[in-house]
Symmetry: C2
Subunit: 229 residues, 2 copies
DNA sequence: TTTGGCCTGTGACCTGCGTCACAGGCGCGT
DNA sequence: ACGCGCCTGTGACGCAGGTCACAGGCCAAA
């Protein structure tokens, strides 16, 4: 129905990389096929051949790398308005990460050809995509720097803070299991638990089943920086 | 002199992202100011405001992130034909990494404005730069995956192999100190030495002052994969 | 209500790696 | 020739974090 199209069109025009496209191009984009994923459903896996890239209309997509023994760490987690899967479209190589729906999601699937055509036709769009990619390089670099220099405790605190910051709420609570947290950090569930306990006794957070309530952002930030004490 | 210009122009047209530009644009680019750096000279540091991006004409540039206590790890190391410093030009944010001349280098310095103009005017160039960035995301993702899943020994062996592969020689030898190696891995010099010793007694390499001679690539590759034994 | 599965909490144990300390060798500058 | 600094080689030590094992609580399905 057309109200659906309008909603998507509005989403696209407010999402970073697409805002530079003219309205008619957006409405054309909205004709792209939609993909719906249930929780934990896999959209593609590392090594797959790529045919399309995706824009998240709703839900949440986790991009993750698989390790040797069934483990996997989450490289980034995108929400509504996020674009992913462009890498393989741009360089023609197989997917370097896997994409899983961390929450039930619906996506817009954009064919390689139309994406490349958009880039060629709209320099501002090309620059927007370049900006987006630049942001990804920056964030991944940050990831490397964290892994190399920070203790698990610091990274954990940092992750919680940054997740909390995406929620507007004053005392937000994150709905994720400690297992998921561990996955995003490339750490073991047990150790994550240990550090969470420490933060709880420090009064920074409160733990519940599948839930972390942020009580004191400042204390958390202290955890995330101080290697001392 | 004009032969100089020609050489640079040839370099540019053979280097990945510039090959898609018309000749006249290349010769225009060659008018850009040159920068010469001595060994270990610093071009810019993380946090600096950016005004230009750079193309390596000769030499070697290391991009590195600084840690808390004077340590730094090398994110990537580029040689002739490499482009770096675009991130900040694209998104206007300060430099996220520092650039140091790992070997005496001469660079072409390209102003932000002319770079952006090139992108706008030449869609193929834009796509080439997108490809380049995509490759950087891929390589940094690989870095993360290595840090998360692999032992120091594996990463060390992998690094040596990949460095050796850039040399055409059949039994190449890398000219770098164990200190530098450690820096690229985010590890301590002592442990790197230990693993190198192991590889030497296994007959995979031969160590000398500031030099590593590759004797047996297959053995190295085994080191880089096997977590067993 | 019972059962089985997931989530949390905690301990014991092992290992890889950083740190510190030191020793010897090569090379360069004076 | 001499000394000093950088590079390599090695051991002792401590710690962060992975692994394993297990126990208890919540929830949903039968």
């Amino acid at each position: 129905m057309s109200t659906d199209q309008e909603a998507i069109s509005r989403l696209l025009s407010s999402a970073a990389p697409f805002s530079s496209l003219p309205a008619w191009a957006l409405t054309a984009l909205c004709q792209s096929p939609r993909v719906m994923l249930g929780r934990d459903e896999i959209l593609f896996s590392a090594g797959d051949r790529a045919e399309a890239l995706y824009v998240i209309i709703s839900g949440e997509i986790a991009l993750e790398i698989d390790g040797a023994d069934g483990k996997s760490i989450c490289v980034s987690s995108l929400k509504s308005g996020g674009v992913f899967g462009e890498l393989s479209i741009l360089d023609g190589k197989p997917r370097s990460v896997g994409a899983r729906a961390a929450a039930p999601a619906t996506l817009l699937s954009i064919k390689a050809a139309s994406f490349l055509a958009l880039i060629r036709a709209h320099p501002d769009f090309a620059i927007a995509i370049l900006k987006d990619l630049a942001g990804k390089v920056r964030s991944t670099n940050g990831h490397v720097s964290g892994l190399s220099f920070l203790s698990l405790r610091s990274r954990l605190a940092g992750l919680i803070v940054s997740l909390a910051d995406t929620e507007a709420n004053a005392a937000p609570s994150l709905a994720m299991t400690q297992h998921e947290l561990a996955g995003r950090l490339g750490a073991s569930r047990e150790k994550v638990n240990g550090h969470l306990q420490a933060m709880q006794t420090a009064g920074a957070i409160r733990l519940a089943r599948g839930q972390i309530e942020i009580l004191n952002r400042a204390a958390l930030r202290r955890f995330s920086e101080a290697e001392n004490s």
